[in-house]
Each structure stands twice: as C-alpha cells, then as structure tokens.
C-alpha cells in the first residue's frame, strides 16, 4: 500500500490512472446527458398522465409505468450483457466508451424518469391549479411551473443519478468498457497490483463527494423558498 506514495508508482501508473479517470468522466457525463434526454420527458409525461394529473391518460400512464419498472428491474451487469447484440448493432462495437454509453443510458433513463416524477410530484397542486385557472396550456405549465418550481429537487435528483451512473461505469469496466472500474479489475485482480485498485477506489470516493457537495450546494443556492 505504501508504494502509492512513491514517485516510482506514479511514474508507472499515473498515466493510466489519469486516462481511466478521464474515461470514467466521459462515460458518466455522456450517459447522464442522454439519460436525461430520454428520462426527463418520460418523467414529465408520467406526472401529466397520472389519474390526478393535468391531462390524465390511463393507458399511456400504465404503459409508461411498465416500461420504467422493467428498465429498473434489470441488474446492470445483466442488462449490459443482454444488450450486447443491440449495442454492437447501434454503436458498431460493444467495447470501450462507445460500447458502454448505450447500456448506461438504457439503465439510467428509467431511473431518471422516476427521479423526475418524484421531484415534479412535490410541486404544490394548488400552484398547478392556479396556472390552469389563468389559462396556461399544458406545455406552459410544464415549462413555466413544473420544471422551475421543482428545480432544486431536480438538481438533487441529478446528483443521485450521476453517482448511480459512476457506480454503473465500474461494472461496465468489468466487461471491457474502460475507465477506473476496468483498471481496478485488470490491475488489482488479474495482475495482482492491489495498490492500483485502492487508488481507483480513493478517486471514486473523491468523485462522489465532489459531485454530491457541488449539487447539494447548488440546490440550496437556487431554492428561493429558503430565503
């Protein structure tokens, strides 16, 4: 363990650790972006179509609920393997960053949808009713009421999503996706250099701490209910 404080260790592994971190960050950011691109509208639609929503649609709501639940039922490792043929077809490869992003998005979009749904449900029904009473359309209510009013909560949800995806990337690393998870397995397990594994763990801990504190602070700062 103590070798991690030596110059020789960093001369040998510094480069690949930096590369691994960068790969992880790229995977996390890209997957989160696409997960929100798909999950945010799903979550919004789910809130709007629920029985007491502003445009109740029983069938749409039920189908959406099923899709989200099925997506969330898959353990990520199994989902990734199950998606291999599909990933290869769409992305051209099932390996590396390209191969990892698609299953990460498929796994996180339903998660995002539920997070968004929970955040929007916290918006006071009276405020929605007030907007309706002024003649706001459904789209206006989403854009001008639901999303801005739920923003502090959406941001906290964002941090939870990001951290969950960091966890997924480590699993993705086990099946050839690259990133810190990949390093930990290859060096720590296969080549018996446990110090590399420990360094990746420390980096991941710092990453999670940073994400959580930045997002928590941002959420508090923008929340005008606390002023």
């Amino acid at each position: 363990m103590s070798e991690i404080f030596t110059a020789a260790f960093w001369a040998e592994y510094g480069g690949i650790l930096a590369e691994g971190l960068l790969d992880t960050l790229v995977m996390v950011v890209a997957s989160t972006f696409f997960a929100y691109l798909i999950g945010l509208p799903m979550g919004v639609l789910s809130v709007l179509t629920q029985p007491h929503g502003i445009c109740p649609k029983r069938t749409v709501n039920a189908v959406l609920g099923w899709v989200i639940n099925i997506g969330r039922s898959f353990p990520f490792a199994i989902l990734m393997v199950a998606l291999f043929p599909f990933t290869k077809l769409v992305m051209g490869t099932r390996l590396g960053l390209r191969g990892a992003v698609l299953p990460l998005v498929v796994a996180s979009a339903p998660f995002v949808a539920r997070m968004v749904e929970t955040s929007l449900s916290e918006v006071d029904a009276g405020v929605i009713e007030a907007a309706q009473s002024m003649g706001a359309s459904t789209l206006q209510i989403v854009r001008k009421v639901y999303l801005p009013e739920a923003m502090p909560s959406l941001i906290l949800g964002g941090s939870i999503t990001l951290i969950a995806i960091v966890g997924y990337t480590a699993i993705a690393g086990m099946v050839g996706a690259g990133g810190l998870g990949d390093l930990a397995i290859r060096y720590g397990h296969q080549r018996h250099v446990p110090s590399v594994m420990w360094v990746t763990v420390i980096i991941l801990i710092i990453l999670v701490q940073v994400v959580q504190s930045v997002f928590s602070r941002l959420s508090v700062r923008i929340d005008k209910r606390l002023k």
């Binding site: 009276g126 907007a131 002024m134 706001a136």
Partner: protein, 338 residues
Amino acid sequence: MSESIIQIQHLTKNFGGGAGEVHALTDISLDIRQGEIFGIIGLSGAGKSTLVRCMNLLERPTSGTVLVDGKDMTALSEGELRLQRRKITMIFQSFNLLMQRTCLKNVCFPMEIAGVPKAQARKRAEELLELVGLQDKAGAYPAQLSGGQKQRVAVARALATDPKVLLCDEATSALDPTTTVSILELLKDLNAKLGVTVVVITHQMSVIEAICSRVAILDGGQVAELGPVQDIFSNPSTDAARRLVYPGGVSISQYPPSTRAIRISFNGGTAYQPLIASLAIDCGVKVNILGADTRNVGGKAIGTMLLGLPEDPGEAAKALSYIRAQPNVSAEEVEYHE
C-alpha cells in the same frame, strides 16, 4: 338592475359513478351581476369550492350551463376556454404563488402566458403591485412575505389580465382577523375602483357581512337561500341559513315563541365599551344574550350577538333605538318562524 356577468343554470356536478357516486352540486341556478360583490357561503362539504371551480371550468359540470360574460363555458374548446379564463381569474386560500419567482415575476406570469411583451408586462406588474400596496416588494420572493402580503401579490397577479370577475376561494381563511379585514378592504376597494365583479367563497359569515351585497347559502350541494345580505341576515328562513347567521349556531326555536330577538353586529367600534351593561344602566332595560360570537381585533370589536328583547314593547323599542344609536353597531330584528 345591472346585467348578469355569470349565469349558472341547473348546474349539477357528480363525482365518481355507480354506487359510489357523490352528488356535490344539485340543480344550482345563480345569477351574478356585473360589478357586485357576491358571496357564497356554506359549511365545509357544502360544495362551495366545487361550485366556484365550475365557474371557470376547472371542474366540468355533469350537466347544466355556465355563462360567463355571455359565453357558455361548457361549450368552449380547450383553446377558447384558456382565453376565456383570463376574464375570470382566481385567488386561493393557500395563495398558490410560484415560490421560485419574485413577486414581480409572479404578477408577470399570467401575462407571459397570454403572450404580452415582456417590457409591457413588467410595467403593468409594477403598477399592479403599487395598486395592492407592495411596490417595495417587487424583488422579494414569496417565502419572505407574510400571509397577507402573499395574498396581495396573488390579487395583483389575478388582476394582470384585466379580468371581469375575480373568484376568491376562501381567500382570507388562512389569515388572522386583522389581515382578513385588510384583504377584504382591498377587495372592496378594487371592486369600486376597477368595477371588477368579485365572487367570495367563504365559511365565515363575517366575511360576507363585511363586503358582500348579495349572498347564496349553499347547503348539501343546493342553494338553500339567495338574496341581499341584509335580508338573509334579518330573516334567515332555512336551517342552513340560521346555523350560519346566528352566533354559535344558536337556535331561537329553543326560546318561547313570543321572544323578540335582534341580531346586532359590531363593525369595528371600540372594544372597551360595555354595550349591554350601559344599556341596562342608561335605559334600565334588561336584555338576554342568546348567543354571541365577538372578537377583539386590534382593539376593535368585530362579531355578532343575538339578544332577546324584553316582552314589554315599550322597553323593547327603547333598547333597540339605544343600540342603533351606538357608533359602529348595527341591529336588525330577527323574525322567528315556527
């Protein structure tokens, strides 16, 4: 007689279906006139909130028609309904302000929805905040305001689209008595200044008494009584009305039929004047307090009292004229029906 602004004809609203069907409103017919302050009062569960939501069609009536400014609300398309709703705006018990927007932006909100250019909306919002006395709170967020201030912002917001009708759904029920009085004065003032028709939904008789010209009493989803406030107060002819009008729900039928009763209201005179005692001392007349519901609001007496007059007609007349001569006190004889 002025024109109708809201006409409700044979309105019925049921919730649910089959065996669990709830009849919230049954065959309601009402005419609300342009420029008046109309009260709708009832106990909880009487259907007041449902009725007011049928006026702007937040609730769609099961049957019957609702005409607002000549247009049948039930026959409008979604788009037309949204336009019509700008003419009949609403304030709420819990204010329902957007918590992440400043007061100014809250007042701008309905104009954003209506597509009013930004600069113009901003200017109008500033005027409206001034109208409700909150020009210095333009940049504040709702969380920084008191209940009364929040309701003033909500009023300004409701007026942003120049509505013809302002619906007030228990607008003062979450406020303390002093703030209630100030919000009611604001509504009265706006009604006089802008000519906007005000519909007040409440469970408090004092609210109706303070600002309404006519009142409908709702009981079990039906209109129990409808008429000028003075008439209903002096002569409540249904149980529902009597429950609301008499302080503490006292019933005069428990007293001998010969009892002559008067209902007196304290409209904000000094609370330190012992009216009943001075009546006894100054006139030598003893009256019987049948029921009372009075409060001291910031040193002012607010509330009502039901008094039984002496059987002797001379003494009764003396007492009545003495009470009527007091400042800020009004008295009406209550008719008693077997």
